[in-house]
């Protein structure tokens, strides 16, 4: 086959761009998924006081500002070598649990859920949150709005603003909460637990009770055997806010567990000439290409990965769901990518339960929410689990605390290789002997929507309306077919 160079400069603005190359038989030889990435954040931050980072990184993309804010806050504390008071940690974690509930809810009902709830054969016009509401009932929309409202309220109470928190400073927070606020937060948390249980029931009644969907979930088309990564606490239970990074191999065995500050000894980034985004991989396993298996350094970081990488959930109701999850899918680890949607709901329940645990913790209203750092700032790493995957912020400063260098590995970046592989697998099963199945775009969308990818402000993923262009090339590298949706 000819060698083709794809010039990454010719990016399509705001679209996912996929190039598929066929071999002589008309079957898929290779696929390439190109991302027009946001650029220059590191450059932009150099020269800023590091305590601005929790406010600046809020704005990397408008979608998970809370995750960036918390990771940045932890990195800033590490730069100043300060251990913040227990109350400050708990308040930040409480804010974070409320955010998780909002975010996971929105993804399931507005984005990923419609694939199942409406069915993959449902007309594109119905496979969205409106379709879900009409099928499941009007009350579901009301609950989704309510969950979001409660989540935003908690973020505002603790973080100072509804979506873009601003209360984290080096050494802790600028304010605590009153008993009155605590009562309000607890009440909203208890509602969130019920809502999470309701959502798991919706999934059970609509998805798991339908053999067609179960086949889809278990099917090979969306299955890959890779390593799995997630943060765990001292008992190896899933934790979104703090802990060590644990990676298990495709058989489920622990491969490595490391402190956030040591991430660079374990993760490297591979560069390909045809895309802006780099591919993180496990350094000590090595880069073997975009392939599955225990010898390939590719790993995934998603709700499913976190469940796979842990020994369980730290709260009782979520733990029961975790056990049901693995029993139903017949073993651990689970490799089927569509199961990410279910894992997301198990996490939703844990986040709600932990929300109430923190809201009823005796320290949560303490006035001891800040300590003044005294050490000279140098360098620090902050890692949290963003809903989309492990999020790493690493800052270097001079002795005044002015930023000299920044390195970020954001949630979805971890998954760039797995996403690319999922797209290739979907394409390979739907393009045979040069015949392209109509459902190609549909299946490709479903493949990467499961990862809840965050390609910055460049992609707008409404099911069926994600701007996508797929170009199919013959064995000589000449484009022979272009399939588009929502692209002029």
């Amino acid at each position: 086959m000819q060698r083709i160079t794809i010039d990454p400069i010719t990016r399509l603005e705001g679209h996912g761009k996929i190039e598929i190359f066929l071999n002589e038989e008309g079957d898929v030889a290779n696929t390439y998924f190109q991302i027009p990435e946001l650029r220059g954040f590191e450059r932009f931050c150099v020269g800023r006081p590091v305590e601005e980072m929790p406010l600046l990184t809020n704005r990397i993309c408008g979608v998970c500002p809370e995750a960036h804010h918390i990771a940045a806050a932890k990195a800033v504390d590490a730069v100043y070598h300060v251990d913040i008071p227990s109350t400050a940690k708990k308040l930040r974690e409480l804010l974070y649990m409320a955010f998780y509930c909002t975010d996971h809810t929105t993804h399931f009902y507005a984005l990923g859920g419609p694939d199942f709830i409406m069915g993959t054969d449902a007309p594109v016009a119905e496979r969205n949150i409106l379709g879900v509401i009409h099928k499941v009932g009007l009350e579901i929309g009301g609950k989704v709005i309510q969950m979001r409202k409660y989540g935003h309220n908690v973020v505002e109470i603790i973080g100072g603003r509804k979506v873009h928190p601003c209360t984290s400073i080096p050494g802790g927070l600028t304010k605590g909460i009153t008993e009155e606020q605590r009562v309000e937060i607890e009440k909203m948390g208890r509602w969130a637990i019920e809502f999470a249980q309701f959502s798991l029931k919706v999934f059970n009644d609509i998805v798991l009770a339908n053999p067609q969907y179960v086949d889809l979930i278990l099917g090979d088309i969306y299955t890959h055997q890779t390593y799995y990564m997630g943060l765990v606490d001292a008992n190896n239970k899933v934790n979104f806010y703090d802990g060590k990074v644990r990676v298990v191999d495709p058989t489920g065995k622990e491969y490595v567990k490391y402190e956030p500050k040591d991430y660079a000894s374990h993760i490297a980034e591979h560069v390909e000439p045809w895309t802006y985004l780099k591919f993180p991989y496990l350094k000590n396993v090595g880069w073997k290409g975009l392939v599955d298996g225990i010898d390939s350094g590719i790993y995934m970081a998603t709700p499913l990965s976190r469940l796979n990488a842990s020994d369980g959930m730290a709260t009782p109701l979520a733990q029961a769901e975790y056990e049901k999850f693995y029993a139903t899918l017949k073993g651990k680890p689970v490799h089927q990518r569509l199961a990410i949607h279910w894992a997301r709901l198990v996490e939703l329940l844990y986040a709600a339960e932990h929300w109430v645990e923190l809201a009823t913790d005796p320290e949560i209203t303490s006035p001891n929410f800040h300590t003044i750092p005294t050490a000279t700032p140098t360098e620090g790493v902050g890692i949290v689990e963003a809903p989309r995957g492990t999020l790493t912020h690493h800052y270097w400063t001079d002795e005044r605390g002015v930023v000299t260098k920044v390195n970020l590995i954001v949630g979805t970046t971890n998954n760039y290789a797995p996403i690319t592989m999922s797209i290739k697998k979907a394409a390979s099963s739907l393009i045979k002997k040069g015949n392209v199945n109509e459902g190609l775009l549909n299946m490709v969308e479903m493949a990467f929507r499961a990862y809840d990818p965050c390609f910055g402000c460049a992609t707008h993923s409404l099911p069926g309306q994600m701007p996508l262009q797929v170009t199919i090339h013959n064995a000589e590298g000449e484009p022979i077919q272009v399939i588009k949706q929502s692209v002029d």
């Binding site: 990435e37 993804h107 935003h152 873009h164 965050c454 707008h460 701007p467």
Partner: protein, 163 residues
């Protein structure tokens, strides 16, 4: 009519922040005693980096909404100022009325109305757009053609308020 004007965008992402700049100019007009705006007390101005459901939630209780935002069609000169009703937007992926992680503003408004959330009708949601150039690079500056378009976009908003 109670009117809410929101500058949308990301203020540290170059041209993507033009909505905020225009909104700030509208705010200055509102508090200017010599301003031509009638009934300034019925006008509220805000800046937001929101889309989809979050943006819909912000519109709750308004009778009329004017959004100001960068757009990237690639088909008109950088700095071109246009105005659309929500349904007329040329492409759902343009601008920030959609969000990567939930849904388009149009769908979000339908959801909200189904839920009896008080929201403006689609024909009372107008979007003033400025064709942008550099929306992928982090910067607090606007590119020259986009910066030059700010007074024109401001005038569009003031004309809408005068209706």
């Amino acid at each position: 009519m109670k009117t809410l004007i929101i500058g949308l965008g990301n203020p540290i992402l170059g041209d993507d922040g033009v909505g905020w700049v225009v909104a700030e100019k509208v705010q200055a007009e509102l508090i200017n005693p010599q301003s031509a705006i009638e009934n300034p007390q019925s006008v509220e101005v805000d800046c937001a980096s929101l889309g989809g459901l979050s943006l819909m939630e912000r519109l709750t209780g308004s009778e009329r909404v004017i959004l100001v935002d960068a757009i990237f069609t690639g088909k008109q000169p950088v700095g071109t100022v246009s105005r659309f009703l929500l349904d007329e937007l040329p492409d759902l992926s343009a601008g920030h009325s959609a969000s990567a992680h939930d849904t388009s503003l149009r769908n979000a408004l339908h959801v909200g109305r189904d839920m009896q959330v008080p929201l403006p009708d689609d024909e009372n949601v107008t979007i003033v757009t400025i064709e942008a150039e550099a929306v992928y690079d982090f910067s607090q500056e606007l590119s020259p053609a986009v910066a030059a378009a700010v007074p024109l976009a401001l005038q569009q908003v003031l004309d809408l308020l005068a209706c």
